[in-house]
Symmetry: C2
Subunit: 348 residues, 2 copies
């Protein structure tokens, strides 16, 4: 579609703009990129590229700036999964950053986001592991007062989900212990997702003394697994984004910071896409208007073969997509490794 020279010009503009953040003109291209033609020719090509929607001007006599379409073209044509296989060595490097003994997975994810932010100089975002797809290890019901039961669910990786169940009739502490033990034993090694099926048929058909109580408790328990209220999202290196010249203007800075402060927006930015291993959202591709000038690169991380969370970066559209994708991918792989190692007892 684009002849070779147009492609070269486009890449030159993108490359230069990623580095400097300044609109780039025809003469600058002839000076720094050897295309073997004069600036007048470049000028004509750039004019064509503008007509095709790949370049924009900031004012009538300014240089050109890549459009969203240009970035999308760049990512689609110059990224493929084979690139990723290259620097697996960096995984160990990342894991070596983690000197402390981690007692909390959430803390680990947060710290990795911090490292990602430091490394990339962008703002890193991460979604803490979700418990839904993981296996049940233990269920404990505790009486809080006459109307409330505290339910604690633990998965095999040590993640905890708690929820308060409001109930109008009293169940004694002894009975709750009995029910807890029964549930733990009965549901162990099923995933939290599978609770739904159990509710549908399995568990309630068992002979069990407290079937009536279960009938009321289980659906509430199941609902609480998915509520996003407990979803934790981390944004680290927020000030990094202010280093970019595009945010020298305090009002622009305020705008972008209010996005980074808004957990709802961050969660939806991280979850509102197909669960691709790597996902790149450029400018307009984002759902929220307030993010139209930003790009978000995310990767999923897994535990036990199931996707449990996300990590990524967020920043101005002008970013070195290919390099950043590689870095983020290595991070997501590392987290997956760490999660699998950590709780399977193979190491340490």
């Amino acid at each position: 579609m684009l002849d070779e020279r147009k492609l070269k010009v486009l890449l030159a503009v993108i490359d230069s703009y990623i580095i400097t953040g300044e609109p780039i003109g025809s003469r600058t291209i002839t000076k720094f990129y050897d295309l073997g033609v004069s600036s007048a020719t470049i000028r004509n090509e750039m004019s064509d590229l503008e007509d095709l929607g790949y370049l924009n001007k900031t004012h009538t006599s300014s240089g050109r700036v890549p459009s969203d379409k240009a970035y999308r073209f760049y990512v689609d044509n110059f990224f493929n999964n084979s690139i990723l296989q290259l620097d697996l060595a960096r995984k160990d490097q990342i894991k070596s950053f983690l000197k402390k003994e981690y007692k909390e997975i959430d803390q680990l994810i947060d710290d990795l986001a911090k490292i990602l932010a430091q490394l990339t100089k962008y703002t890193a975002v991460a979604l803490s592991p979700q418990i839904r797809e993981t296996k049940i290890k233990h269920i404990q019901l505790l009486p809080m007062d006459e109307n409330q039961i505290l339910a604690i669910m633990v998965n095999e990786a040590g993640l905890i989900k708690k929820s308060i169940i409001n109930t109008d009739n009293n169940i004694s502490e002894e009975n709750l212990v009995y029910i807890s033990n029964y549930l733990s034993k009965r549901l162990k090694n099923k995933t939290f997702k599978e609770l739904a099926n159990e509710i549908g048929n399995g568990i309630l058909d068992d002979y069990f003394e407290y079937k009536n109580e279960l009938k009321r408790l289980l659906p509430i328990l199941f609902d609480s697994i998915d509520d996003t209220e407990g979803m934790k999202v981390y944004a680290e290196g927020i000030t990094n984004i202010l280093e970019f010249p595009e945010y020298r203007d305090i009002d622009k800075a305020k705008e972008v910071l209010s996005v980074l402060e808004d957990k709802e927006k961050l969660i939806s930015a991280l979850t509102n896409n197909k669960l691709e291993e790597i996902d790149v959202k450029i400018g307009e591709e984002n759902n929220h208007d307030s993010m139209k000038e930003l790009s978000v690169i995310t990767a999923t991380y897994n535990s036990d073969g199931e996707i449990v969370g996300k990590i990524g970066i967020i920043g101005p559209k002008r970013m070195n997509y290919i390099e950043l994708i590689k870095t983020i991918w290595v991070f997501s792989e590392s987290i997956t490794d760490i999660l699998n190692d950590y709780f399977s007892g193979n190491e340490r």
Copy 2:
């Protein structure tokens, strides 16, 4: 120490500076504050106040700005606890903001911090409830793999503390259940703090089958209660601070934001003081150099008569201390109320 007229002048400068953020001159004072003397007299008084350390100039011919000493003087002389008793009515107002049913205390504290930020237009900070001074409700030990035990401790308010215990010798799941039950029963209604005493004498003198295991597990359990790693600190309304004209300069903004992003600094700013109900730190009084241009007002909140957390605001030194103290105090009282109501079953 200060004669009446000097006091009036000082208050005028503070009042005006809190509102406008601009240095204030003698003529402005005569215009807006009726002191009955000419600007020349004010000029002389201001010069004296500068010599006494209450006022500063930003350059040789600028107006005056209050010093840290001036703010300290203002707070010490015009705030006393009786002021607080006034607007208890606002408590209900605050509680009415909370429409949702809260299932997580942490979430509740975070949301209240958000409301505090909205109300004051400052950045609100809060320390989530600490479990140390509260009573034990339940202890559960779960085997993660052959070297690790997951310990889950629940307090009577439903707060959960988890920690991974590394152990080199295997304890079977059945035995862990047995030990868990014993600990829950034996330690129930003691505070986590009191665990220490129990370790010292009480519990280990009991006749108990797994005394050796306990001897190793308990100290680790106790240590984990205090670790700050799990301490959660919330900073809400971060962008509010950028509305102040003192942060129109992006570099100043970056500086203050990096403080707000630094959880360590926030935690130490919130904890590094005597546990006064209300604590005001003005500029230089803060520990960290990066906070010398900020003031922090904090209040403690309680549960069951014990201090369990903190909430406050942070912003430029130019703040309406008295009003803000009142607001924060009402918040801390409200949280205390909510915590006490919520888990005692008196309401809802």
